[in-house]
């Protein structure tokens, strides 16, 4: 058993609670925290494993587990509003069906995700549920097929409980850009959950479902994971099939996942990864059983990360980054050092160029990908006298403001004669960013940075600080340009809200090194003491 880490020394911005009874951590020590209800602080346990054990031992049925989650979902939804669509009847049916099969076949009936409730971001197609992409132009649309990632989850026994809210077509970083509703952060209902996968992050955070799927084009899984205090993984580009993911920027999009623990996230990554003939950009690289490589705390050596070289990216800790965030990240770095790794600073100067390159590429590809929403084959159609008017009116009526602006910008960048100046140069910068990461990842095994420059901000707050906007994007978009995998693990809190606001640590690795990232993330998570990343509202029974 490794010597207990002295958490109170690690985090200068927080103070340890005076009472000996282990309580849920609060950032403001003068506040009388309510007595800990059900969950003592401590490293996250795997919900997937505990569900599996309950089903195997017969202690609980799938129907009971589903009912428990659904009741919590209904209790918290009026406040959080993670879901655009909840498939309650279907979920109950599937749970009952699973119970019947367990009764007749025994534990052979249990796939790796049997009885696990998942939320699916609404830009992933689900055959028996509406899939809107967060947009009015697809209101009421029911796809004819499941996205590959969804199909694989179902084949593993998972129960899709509903479709989660998002910024329209993935464009945005607060989930306020949804055409349907605003999702609230479970830690503070006056704040955003992040975006664009805000609903997926908040659903897992509020324990409305066990795990969820999201998508990440420029940080859309990592930033909400940081804001909501959950684990978020952006896989390597090509690790998970994009078939059935409504395309935003095809060279940047990936399907990502959220879990309340690294173990759960690793489990669902194994299930959804792999080559898919319907996605020619998907990789044929073998998919390891990521969760099996995660060892328990008891079998860790005293310096489990001995020999690991970690680089903190300088450009992500500069101006515009909250002091609380910077100190949380530095504290996390020193925690990693205590675990045996060597941490140094590294500079990636091409990072700032990556930002305009990202916006050009994303807008340009979006302008092309979203041309399919024309009111003809699916979605909302506005009748008109001629075809061009039908297109113009249907799109004007159905697409939101942010989406329209990005389409127009992309149309501009791709106009005849502009390709060399914009799109081609952006691709050249992508090469520079890739090479810059490659160089750094030869010197270091893992690069770390914050996932966002601040904790969750208030809903409707207009961010007028240009440095903060720049600082935020710079933490995430370059990873998409280079196609690298990145894992965000909650690492601390800053003040705000009733129980503090969580902060996530982003860990970036070389292509297809998700296994290594998960291993390090798991050890970090399991050795992080005195924190509980369960928001107040979901621990009430």
């Amino acid at each position: 058993m490794p010597p207990p880490l002295q958490a109170h020394r690690l985090l200068i911005s927080h103070r340890r609670l005076p009472t000996p009874a282990r309580r849920r951590f609060t950032a403001v020590s003068s506040v009388q925290s309510p007595p800990a209800k059900t969950l003592a602080p401590g490293p996250a346990a795997s919900s997937v494993l505990s569900i599996r054990e309950s089903l195997l031992s017969g202690e609980r049925t799938a129907a009971e587990i589903t009912a428990e989650y659904l009741s919590r979902l209904h209790r918290t939804e009026p406040s959080v509003r993670s879901f655009i669509h909840v498939a309650e009847a279907a979920a109950q049916r599937e749970a009952e069906e699973l119970d019947r099969r367990i009764a007749s076949e025994g534990k052979d009936a249990l796939g790796p995700l049997a009885g696990v409730l998942v939320g699916v971001k609404d830009n992933l197609c689900t055959a028996n549920m509406p899939s809107t992409g967060g947009s009015r132009i697809l209101e009421g649309y029911q796809p004819a097929y499941d996205a590959t990632a969804v199909r694989l989850l179902r084949e593993a026994g998972a129960i899709v409980v509903g479709k989660t809210n998002l910024d329209e077509f993935g464009m945005g970083s607060t989930t306020e850009g949804s055409a349907f509703q605003v999702t609230k952060n479970p830690w503070d209902d006056s704040r955003v959950p992040g975006g664009s996968s805000g609903g997926s992050a908040s659903a897992v955070s509020a324990r409305q479902c066990v795990v969820s799927l999201g998508s990440d084009t420029g940080g859309s899984v990592r930033q909400p994971a940081s804001f909501c205090g959950v684990v978020g993984l952006k896989p390597t580009y090509g690790r998970v099939s994009r078939f059935g993911l409504m395309a935003y920027a095809s060279s940047l999009d990936v399907v990502g996942c959220f879990g309340s623990s690294v173990f759960d996230t690793a489990t669902i990554l194994s299930v959804v990864s792999g080559h898919d003939k319907m996605d020619s950009t998907s990789s044929s690289q073998d998919v390891p059983d990521y969760a099996s490589e995660l060892v328990s705390l008891d079998s860790l050596e005293s310096k489990p990360l001995n020999g690991l070289r970690i680089g903190i990216i300088q450009e992500t800790l500069g101006e515009g980054v909250d002091i609380g965030v910077a100190s949380s990240i530095k504290a996390a770095a020193s925690h990693l050092e205590q675990l045996g790794s060597v941490v140094e600073e590294v500079s990636l100067p091409s990072f700032s160029l990556g930002l305009p390159a990202y916006y050009i590429l994303a807008s340009s590809e979006a302008s092309s990908n979203l041309s399919r929403y024309d009111g003809i084959r699916y979605g909302r159609q506005i009748s008109a006298d001629d075809l061009n008017e039908l297109y113009g009116e249907s799109r004007a009526n159905g697409l939101g403001h942010e989406v329209k602006m990005r389409i127009l910008m992309g149309t501009y960048a791709l106009s005849a004669g502009y390709y060399d100046a914009y799109y081609k140069r952006a691709q050249q910068v992508r090469t520079l960013v890739k090479e810059s990461f490659k160089g750094a990842l030869e010197r270091f095994d893992i690069l770390v940075s914050p996932a966002a420059p601040s904790a969750a901000y208030k809903i409707g707050e207009k961010i007028n600080d240009p440095l903060a906007m720049y600082a935020g994007d710079i933490m995430t978009v370059n990873v998409n340009l280079a196609g690298l995998p990145a894992l965000v693990v909650p690492c601390g809190f800053v003040e705000g809200g009733p129980a503090g606001l969580p902060i996530g640590l982003q860990m970036i690795g070389s292509p297809f090194s998700e296994g290594n990232l998960l291993r390090v993330g798991h050890i970090f998570e399991q050795t992080l003491q005195n924190f509980s990343f369960v928001p107040p509202l979901s621990s009430e029974r």
Partner: protein, 213 residues
């Protein structure tokens, strides 16, 4: 200007109030304008552009595009310089009808692009030393001149990318992963057909393509 264009995009991404302006009112009025314009079109001269709404400009552009295969060129082009965004033309290309309020974004986008031109000149002087890290012995502070980050496109012009290969994508998939060029039948054809708004078996109904006078 500073607060407006300080944001990476020329529009605030986080404004919840303006995210969804569903132009139902202007939709109705657009139809009326359209009906009115059908009569106006018979007149010899098109209405002056500066008076026209975004939509009427869009219609005029469309007429020109239909009759000639050459894309429209903004009359005020400077030789060698990139032309500023022509919002009506972009809206036409993207097949999005812009409401009158949305057409007003043209000057805002114009400001960003104008501004990018100025910063381009500035950056040619000050970016070079910082890109070549380590030349200035001692102080590595940049000039004490406020900068904002709106000129995304401009920053790219300043960089020497002569010999860099463009990357189509991250390039993770080793080797060719194209599947066999063999058509497969999709099982749920009915569900696809059900999603079509105007279906008249076996046709997908659309309004007429060309609006002949």
């Amino acid at each position: 200007i500073a607060t407006l264009i300080a944001h990476p995009f020329p529009w605030p991404a986080h404004s919840s109030s303006t995210t969804h302006q569903v132009p139902t009112q202007s939709f109705v009025s657009r139809r009326q304008q359209h009906a009115r314009r059908r009569r106006v079109r018979r007149s010899p001269a098109p209405p002056p552009l500066r008076q026209a709404t975004g939509r009427s400009q869009w219609l005029l552009q469309r007429r020109r595009t239909l009759s000639s295969s050459v894309p429209n060129v903004t009359p005020t082009s400077v030789a060698g310089a990139l032309e500023p965004p022509d919002l009506p033309r972009l809206a036409n290309a993207a097949r999005i009808s812009l409401s009158p309020q949305e057409a007003e974004f043209a000057p805002k986008i114009q400001e960003v692009v104008d501004w990018f031109g100025k910063l381009q000149a500035v950056d040619l002087e000050s970016i070079e030393p910082s890109l070549r890290a380590g030349t200035a012995a001692g102080s590595s502070l940049r000039e004490d001149k406020p900068e904002t980050f709106a000129n995304w496109f401009g920053q790219l012009q300043a960089v020497d990318l002569e010999s860099i290969e463009p990357s189509l994508r991250a390039g993770m998939a080793a080797g060719s992963s194209l599947r066999e060029d063999k058509p497969e039948t999709f099982a749920k054809r009915d569900a696809i057909v059900e999603a079509i708004p105007s279906y008249d078996d076996p046709y997908i109904k659309v309004p007429r393509v060309l609006n002949k006078e």
